[in-house]
């Protein structure tokens, strides 16, 4: 069926809840309102207020309560309304979600999936454009997943919900309704911890995820017109990272670039560049470039375009690297 990413997410949530009655959704406005992006639309009516819980406005309690649910064998799927509002829950996530398995040597695990819209490009108010995924990638125990299409969203969300590990599932706001895609009705999983080569090319590897995948694709098409064949890796799971796929590609192409919308410094691009430097140094024909947001706060709507990496900025870096 043809559907948008937000519809694919909605469908997946419904199917997973039908399959497994341990799954509980909770968050702000997820119930009667169906979520501010309608990701949980209809679930309250279908599954009732005990499984689709409109919580008070309290992010730390949303995640804390989700943890407590796992103690009794449930598999909560809390929603944080925007990634910019996940910080009040940071202590619960970093101190407990990520660590309870280790702390108790496996007695208590935390199989929850925290869903949250993320990323810029939709001209929103401050705090509604965050992409601080690298904060979570440096916390041992967490898994961070980002889909870049409706099809991937369905398969990755199902896999996240079924995972025994806690997952931060980041949904690129910009892609929620950007395209429709044919998405199978039957449930399916896409493997976590595995990157996908979504475009093959021999000259240069671009590593990206989420809303930067369409940007990279556009740049790749333009580059192809210049005779440069770009290979695009959609990371899908940001951590634990599929370094082998990245390294193998760069060994083939000899050139690498990371595109992400987070600020450059200490963004995930740093880890990817460092990994390539560690494992493919001798294959490199030039530095690993990072095309990213600037090291500033995402500007308000009028100036957002100056921040957000677009195909032109990627293409420019491609040219710089090819000429290196």
């Amino acid at each position: 069926m043809n559907m948008t990413m937000v519809q694919a997410i909605n469908r997946t949530l419904a199917q997973e809840m039908e399959r497994d009655d341990r799954i509980i959704i909770l968050g702000e406005d997820v119930g009667r309102d169906g979520g501010v992006f309608r990701a949980t639309d209809g679930l309250f009516e279908a599954f009732g207020p005990e499984r689709v819980i409109d919580t008070p406005l309290a992010e730390s309690a949303i995640i804390g309560a989700s943890i407590g649910m796992t103690a009794l064998g449930l598999r909560p799927v809390p929603e944080i309304q925007f990634m910019g509002f996940i910080y009040p829950a940071f202590n619960q996530i970093i101190s407990h979600v990520a660590r309870l398995r280790n702390r108790t040597r496996g007695r208590f695990t935390v199989p929850l999936t925290i869903r949250t819209p993320y990323g810029a490009g939709v001209k929103a108010l401050e705090h509604h454009s965050e992409s601080t995924e690298a904060l979570f990638c440096q916390v041992p125990g967490l898994t961070v997943v980002v889909p870049s299409s409706p099809y991937d969203a369905k398969g990755l969300l199902a896999a996240s919900i079924r995972s025994e590990d806690p997952v931060i599932f980041l949904e690129p706001t910009k892609l929620y309704r950007a395209e429709k895609q044919d998405v199978p009705e039957d449930p399916y999983e896409l493997p976590l911890r595995r990157a996908a080569v979504v475009r093959e090319g021999k000259d240069l590897t671009v590593v990206a995820w989420g809303a930067m995948i369409p940007v990279a694709r556009k740049a790749a098409e333009a580059a192809a017109a210049d005779g440069v064949e770009i290979e695009i890796i959609d990371l899908r799971t940001l951590c634990p990272m599929d370094r082998d796929t990245i390294v193998a590609s760069v060994k083939r192409t000899g050139r690498a670039m990371v595109v992400h919308e987070a600020p450059k410094t200490c963004g995930l691009g740093a880890e990817i560049a460092a990994t390539i430097g560690e494992r493919a140094l001798l294959s490199l024909n030039g530095p690993v470039l990072r095309v990213t947001g600037h090291d500033i706060t995402v500007p308000l709507p009028k100036s957002e375009d100056h921040y957000y990496p677009g195909p032109e900025r990627v293409l420019r870096a491609v040219r710089q690297l090819m000429e290196y």
């Binding site: 702000e28 009667r32 309102d33 501010v36 008070p56 406005l57 929103a124 600037h294 308000l300 100036s303």
Partner: protein, 359 residues
Amino acid sequence: MIERFDPLKGERLQILDEKGSARAGLDPGLSDPELRAMYERMVLTRTVDAKALKLQRQGRFGTYASNLGHEACQVGLASAMTKGDWLFPYFRDLGLYLTLGYPLADHYHFWMGNEAGLRTPDSLNIYPVAIPVGSQIPQSVGAGLAARYRKLPIAVVATFGDGATSEGDFHEGLNMAGVFRTPNVFFCVNNQFAISVPRAKQTAAATIAQKAAAYGFPGVQVDGNDILAVHAAAREALDNARNGKGPTLIEAYTYRMGDHTTSDDSGRYRTKEEVREWERRDPLLRLRLHLEKKGLWDAKLEKELQDRSTELVEKAVAEAEARPPATVEDLFAYTYAEMPPDLAAQLEDHKAFLGEAAR
């Protein structure tokens, strides 16, 4: 007066009834010009708000949080504040901004999507809009501590919604204020909703005001559609703050008459009848009836006021829209006091990119 209305006993301060009559013995005794000025401020607020909604529909504004129905809360509170007092606002405080003298064009400029609009004029003690719900509350307590340390005879006000009272920051802030008896007034606009979540699902406490019991200072619930009640309670609380008598929690009981923001559709979670029921209690109507009863208002004055307000608004929109856009430098210049070399290099590179793209 605040102590006379115990929220734990379900008491709520109301001075003006829905017909516009003031309850004897409670009337704060505002002068005629003061009353008229308040009404004018409320009408201006509503005009500014309606225009903002229109601009948003036309794509000339970003997502906007309507203010409809909150005019008495905001103008009642702001008109009780005095020069020197500080405001730590939330995102639905238009009438406070206007009453305290924040330039309307600046306010529009912000909602049009330019940070420059949040550059409070140096003469005003207004912190920027806090979007992360509740986060301004502990900040206001720190300002209260600072005011006391500096021996300034001022009060510090934080405003927030009913939803904000569920956040940890509400609790940590009020608790700290209680411990240090800071000169704070915590003003909760209980408009019955946090987006779609009704007040009854936000907390099991019968009132928000009674939460003050947890912090060892008084709380009072007032009719938030009754500007005299709001003003009277605010004035007393502000006086107490300034006079070293510690903080107060005021719950203004009102209703969010519009959608949460322009991205919201409140028809999904509440009935038209409920909204209509509250239209009867419109705060503007109530003060207008009161003014009419006192012979201070008529249709002609109303028409003149509407025209004046519209004119002011149109001028401010024109001014805001005529302002030049932020420069690229603006976006980079305020991250640090002095721009680090890396960031300067990013700025240069971006300018080079723009230059190339322009060619």
